[in-house]
């Protein structure tokens, strides 16, 4: 038997570090830098934009707002209206597609179900700009499908063409239904089957069970997803840009900025932010209000097998179509990446193919430059996100301090802000030297881009880390302390390793999001710092589809790689990171 040791090992009772870390105010030492960063790069730029919107020639004035709401030049009001109704329609279409798919895939067993449920998340693998471009290539006015059908059926005109608001809506549905799909399918998985059995036992028919038990239990998930999709649709910039809808809020901001009307851009940004923040608050309030998911052991959900012959055939055809629709955008980008620049004009498919674009990507210094830029910017921003995100997640999950809710809200704020707004805010704040930019003008320099990416992706690592931290038991840390480990030792040897999978998943995601970033970059880049997505956009306008798509393939490959790795890391629970 081991004799009890009376002196605790290796503890220096008078160590100054120890006395600091055990102080009750130590927590404020830890969180002060977090608040400072948020103040400098989120609140201050936001406030500067607001100031700019209510100032005219140095004095307070609401003139910008009266211009915005003026009934003589209604372009701004129209833009607001268009943004709102596109968003409402997007919520409806995404809801129908997403919830429908979730039910089909979670509740029924049919040929092709497995493949379809893997591919259902493909839209997440598309970088924003490439996603929209693929739709333009496939279904747009010179798209492959309309032209192909025209050719095949010998028609005068293409039978249909995706353009305008319909184009925006279809792209929104394709890229955003995943939010509904993911929340609804995890809610369906979380439904305790014994509830349905209890209802059946009490005499309820299949229909009554749906109406009275299943749908009410899914309502929270559906409402949360609706708010999210609304918010993202309001912030959507790429789809209106490619489909030429100028009268949306984001496009108006972009136009005001490029026309040099910075006051108006500030006003439009402020108003759009208000709407987004309102929805963020609504969402958080609603998430706190109700949660019906219960964890209970017992029988797992049974999938109803589609048994009838006709049913199976229909299911097979529909799954095939589903797979096709989901895969086509990626396939078309890959195909075009091999087409020779400038040769594809009126043919259905590009006539000649080459491998040169991929070779050039890595060998030609001109085409390599944007890739190097994107990596540099993204890595710099991600390092910042990593330090900030892990510290903030630990503080929020494990510590008690005043201002916790405030910190939480401030971190989520950049997520609610449209990328366009983030860019405008940074322009307002860092066009002149100030304390937070260490006396430099950041606009026009390299560093404004990492800063923008940092702000935009602030919540990513924070969220993935805090969700893994929440799953680990606090008593493990207490056990480490009890065994004589200091706070820092515990953090290093216990907390960090336990949260590592979440940290890594979030870091990879932030990195790859940075490489796909377009919306803020287009307002902030210079010729020296052009990132990949902006380069793709420019190549498109130069009709160099091949090169543009080769960049796109690179982005897609990186995203798929990251999604795959983080699925492995978090044990299939990618939802936590996204």
């Amino acid at each position: 038997m081991i004799k009890p040791q009376l002196t605790p090992p290796n503890v220096r009772p008078n160590s100054r570090w120890n006395s600091i870390t055990t102080s009750r105010h130590f927590v404020y030492v830890l969180i002060a830098p977090l608040f400072l960063i948020l103040l400098a790069y989120v609140i201050y730029p936001f406030f500067q934009t607001f100031l700019q919107s209510i100032k005219q020639d140095g004095s307070f004035s609401l003139q910008n707002y009266s211009r915005f709401f003026s009934l003589e030049h209604t372009s701004n009001l129209e833009a607001l209206w268009t943004s709102v109704y596109i968003s409402v329609l997007s919520v409806i279409t995404c809801g129908i597609v997403g919830v429908g798919m979730a039910f089909l895939l979670e509740r029924y067993e049919f040929p092709g179900r497995k493949l379809l449920s893997v591919l259902a998340l493909v839209p997440m693998a598309l970088p924003p700009l490439i996603g929209v471009l693929s739709f333009e290539f496939l279904y747009g006015s010179s798209g492959i499908i309309p032209r192909g059908l025209q050719h095949l059926l010998h028609l005068e005109q293409p039978p249909f063409v995706l353009k305008g608001i319909w184009g925006v809506l279809v792209v929104h549905t394709f890229t955003m239904y995943t939010y509904f799909y993911m929340t609804a399918s995890s809610a369906i998985k979380g439904l305790d089957p014994s509830l349905e059995e209890a209802a059946a036992n009490l005499g309820a028919s299949r229909l009554t069970i749906w109406r009275r038990v299943i749908l009410p239990m899914l309502t929270p998930a559906i409402v949360a997803a609706s708010l999210l999709v609304f918010m993202i649709s309001m912030a959507s910039y790429t789809a209106p840009l490619i489909f030429g809808i100028e009268r949306t809020m984001t496009m108006q901001i972009y136009l005001s900025r490029t026309n040099g009307d910075l006051d108006m851009a500030a006003t439009q940004s402020t108003l759009l932010s208000m709407v987004s923040i309102l929805f963020l608050i609504l969402m958080r309030w609603y998430q706190g209000a109700r949660n019906y998911q219960n964890m209970s052991k017992g029988v797992s959900v049974h999938r109803t097998e589609v048994k009838s012959k006709a049913g199976r055939n229909i299911a097979m055809v529909l799954s095939f179509l589903g797979v096709l629709v989901l895969m086509l955008p990626i396939l078309i980008i890959v195909l075009l990446a091999f087409s020779e620049d400038g040769t594809w004009t009126t043919q259905v498919l590009p006539p000649s193919y080459t491998l040169d674009h991929f070779k050039d990507l890595f060998t030609d210094s001109k085409t390599w430059r944007p890739i190097a830029n994107s990596f540099k910017i993204s890595i710099a921003a991600t390092i910042g996100n990593l330090l900030f995100g892990v510290a903030a997640a630990y503080a929020i999950v494990r510590m008690n301090f005043k201002g916790k809710t405030l910190l939480d809200i401030l971190i989520m704020l950049p997520w609610a802000l449209p990328g366009t707004v983030v860019a405008v805010n940074l322009i307002s704040a860092f066009s002149e030297p100030n304390v937070f930019s260490f006396g430099q003008v950041l606009i026009g320099s390299f560093w404004i881009l990492p800063l923008a990416y940092f702000v935009r992706h602030l919540p990513l690592i924070f969220r993935s880390t805090s969700s893994t931290l929440m799953q680990t038991d606090r008593s493990v840390e207490e056990a480490a302390r009890n065994l004589g480990a200091s706070w820092w030792y515990t953090f290093r040897r216990v907390v960090f390793p336990m949260a590592l999978s979440g940290i890594l998943a979030g870091t990879l995601l932030a990195l790859v999001e940075g490489i796909g970033e377009f919306v803020a970059s287009i307002l902030l880049y210079t010729n020296e710092t052009t990132p990949i997505s902006v380069e793709i956009f420019q190549r498109m306008y130069a009709f160099e589809f091949g090169t543009a798509c080769a960049y796109g393939v690179l982005q897609i490959v990186m995203i798929i790689l990251v999604l795959f790795i983080s699925r492995k890391l978090t044990g299939g629970n990618t939802g936590s990171a996204i």
Partner: protein
């Protein structure tokens, strides 16, 4: 009141073991318990009665009616689930009223019945509470009220007490028994807790790995277990192996060790046990059937010396684990007023002839 018949019911699953050939007749108004360790098929059997599984073979009858393939919502059984399965998006009142609303009863009637059901389980005034505002015991009673309010033909209880703490379990157990007696409803109860089963049931069915071991009243199962499994699963028991040495009219003598010969009554043998000279048998002796003998009785029949390994005082009883040579002896003395024996002490134990039971 209605009886339930399971007519040679079997259930096979793809991979997991189901149940084999369950053949029982539950009488109207009876409190019938399925007892066994987890995975023994008791819940599967109950779920077939509720209609969540359909038997692969055999028939289920409610009274004279064949319900083998009837969907669960047509059976009019009230079930209390292990995790209660209360609807989290409804209040207590709405939960209890659910079954009545499905049955399209009038508003006033529903209100009256729900109120009565709430009184029955001592939850009057809790109608507007949300489910997550209730304690575990209260949730349990809501589940019970929800099952009873529809006036079911049969009440099905799937380990309803397993999520409650010890004291609450005791109270709720008596509460369920009281309600069952008052309402006279045919009740099928599933549990792995033998003391629960013993105290509540009219009859018990003991199951193991999908096979029925024994069906009988608590006394029969306790005093005349058919095999080693039942003897050890129901209460504590000493199971000693030995060889029959002599059959002498009504008694049988069994040698356990060269020094230890026990005599029991031949009538106290399970049907699976054939008593014959030279036959290997297992003896089941309940700990409370062992008592301490006076030193003067040393050498008499069924009296043997032991060495105490462990002694504990529980208030009600003194429990010993001792050894007689290679044999381990569990003994429990209730209210015998002796001095507590300590570890390594010698003691003299005796077993009454009629409390030895022969197993196969």
């Amino acid at each position: 009141m209605i009886g339930v018949t399971l007519d040679r019911v079997s259930k096979q699953f793809d991979k997991a073991r189901g149940v084999e050939n369950v053949d029982i007749q539950i009488k109207p108004g009876e409190f019938f318990t399925f007892l066994g360790p987890s995975g023994c098929g008791k819940t599967t059997t109950l779920r077939m009665i509720a209609g969540f599984y359909y038997p692969s073979d055999g028939r289920i009858l409610f009274g004279d009616r064949n319900v083998t393939n009837m969907p669960p919502n047509k059976r009019n059984t009230g079930m209390v689930f292990q995790n209660y399965a209360l609807f989290p998006h409804m209040t207590v009142f709405e939960n209890i009223a659910f079954g009545l609303q499905v049955r399209k009863q009038g508003k006033a009637e529903i209100r009256e019945k729900v109120t009565r059901a709430q009184k029955l389980v001592h939850l009057d005034g809790y109608g507007e509470r949300r489910i997550d505002q209730l304690s575990g015991g209260q949730q349990q009673r809501v589940a019970l009220a929800r099952a009873l309010v529809i006036e079911p033909n049969i009440l099905l209880l799937d380990e309803p007490l397993s999520n409650l703490d010890a004291k609450l379990r005791e109270e709720t157990r008596q509460e369920i028994k009281r309600l069952q007696l008052e309402l006279g409803i045919t009740t099928i109860y599933v549990t792995h807790d033998q003391s629960e089963a013993m105290s509540m049931s009219d009859r018990i069915m003991v199951m193991k790995e999908g096979v029925v071991q024994q069906i009988g009243t608590p006394q029969e199962i306790y005093n005349r277990p058919v095999n080693r499994f039942v003897a050890s699963f129901i209460g504590e028991s000493n199971l000693w192996e030995g060889t029959v040495e002599r059959m002498d009219g009504e008694t049988a003598q069994v040698r356990l060790t060269p020094d230890l010969l026990l005599t029991g009554l031949a009538a106290n043998a399970s049907p699976e046990c054939k008593l014959a000279v030279g036959q290997k048998v297992t003896l089941s002796v309940r700990p409370e059937a062992i008592s301490e003998a006076d030193p003067s009785e040393r050498g008499k029949a069924n009296t043997f010396a032991v060495k105490v390994l462990l002694s504990e005082f529980t208030g009600v009883s003194m429990n010993y684990i001792a050894e007689a040579g290679p044999i381990s002896v569990k003994a429990m003395f209730v209210g015998q007023g002796q001095r507590m024996r300590q570890r390594d002490e010698e003691a003299l134990f005796t077993v009454a002839r009629d409390s030895i039971y022969f197993l196969g």
